[in-house]
Symmetry: C2
Subunit: 198 residues, 2 copies
DNA sequence: GGTTACTAGATGACTGGTCATATATATTTA
DNA sequence: TAAATATATATGACCAGTCATCTAGTAACC
């Protein structure tokens, strides 16, 4: 079907209203009804804008990554600072953003949906894996630069380093959500700065 | 209500049969029907053995931690080895156990349920937080010993170190599940051994 | 008889998804 | 220009099935 601009705008509106519910309540905890009610749109319209609830989740994730990563990416690529400094600012930036989310109670949307659905929806799993790997790629480049500049040690490969930092961040977000406290994220940053990126 | 031995045995049987479903499909993805069907127990009986689905999840988590942590704890307290060696063996042991779970597709039950339900069930959140903090306490003691023995550096507090390692582990399990690969766990151990516990 | 252990079946609200139908907006034709 | 046609969008009633939970009862034992 041909998608008009108007079509896309309303689909975006549904995503805007529904994504936070999905983030908070998870895939199986969110009903299509919840989404359309939040947007004030009749039930029947949902399936005009999305193929299925699964399709809505995929587009929600894409939107989430776009919103969360884009501003942070600018920090990452801002060549006024040295590679290492850019990495630190980048992680600090992301972390503060996550801490701000509803008193540390919501965690990371991708982690939530990944943990819940990776085993049961290839669409959702693929969306998360492919976007995360693209983001990782961008960070890896900066780590390579930092290694070449001698700012951080070179015994570990950039992929190992970035994989570990990214994974540790996911876990910190999980614990943040469980304990409803920013400590895990602050502790995480402390390790990045003082132990990992050395 | 007075609980007989027989009563407890049958409740355990329901937990044994239902926990894996809960682990795999999550809280909202698992129905009471799924659980009783898996155990071959009449539907009406469920509420004779458990107060609610939420109660079942709490007891499932307690069972999960007991099964996963108990054997690992023996490694942790086996005083034949030095504190640092015990820590490394402990983490290696746990990691191999998690890698074995269904080709890396299931992740960690507590992370799954925590991410899904922490915001919506105080019972589930409290269960996870309190058990994890007890486990953390046991590990912290060994880190203290290792620091006193000069086996690992002392600039960081044992609580900081253990918090970070535990959180990083959760994230590694999340990525393991997303990517269906053991790499995140192996990379995690590599960092514990060569970067964190130094 | 009385107490406790257990369970079949029902409850009403809710699930993701479909459908026929209605209207609004473009596009084409005369 | 106006009329005719086609397409895009809107809508809520409606599936068949599932949800967590409860009630009212039977079965078992003392």
């Amino acid at each position: 079907m041909h998608k008009t601009l108007k079509h896309e705008a309303k689909a975006d509106y549904l995503l805007e209203k529904g994504s936070e519910i999905l983030w908070s309540r998870g895939y199986n905890g969110t009903s299509v009804n919840d989404i359309v009610k939040a947007a004030g749109v009749p039930k029947g319209s949902f399936y005009f804008y999305f193929d299925s609830k699964e399709d809505f989740a995929v587009k929600s994730l894409e939107r989430y990554f776009a919103i969360m990563f884009k501003p942070a990416a600018e920090v990452l690529h801002n060549t006024d600072a040295s590679p290492k400094q850019r990495l630190l600012t980048f992680y600090r930036f992301r972390l503060e953003k996550m801490k701000g989310e509803h008193e540390c109670t919501m965690g990371c949307m991708a982690c939530n949906l990944g943990n819940e659905m990776a085993e049961h929806s290839e669409q959702i799993r693929n969306t998360i894996v492919s976007i995360e790997s693209r983001i990782k790629g961008e960070i890896i480049k900066v780590v390579e630069e930092a290694q070449q500049a001698g700012e951080i040690r070179s015994q570990l490969s950039p992929n190992q380093i970035v994989s570990f930092i990214e994974d540790a961040g996911k876990g910190a977000l999980t614990t943040m959500k469980e304990t409803q406290s920013p400590f895990p994220l602050d502790n995480y940053y402390h390790f990045i700065e003082n132990v990992i990126l050395k």
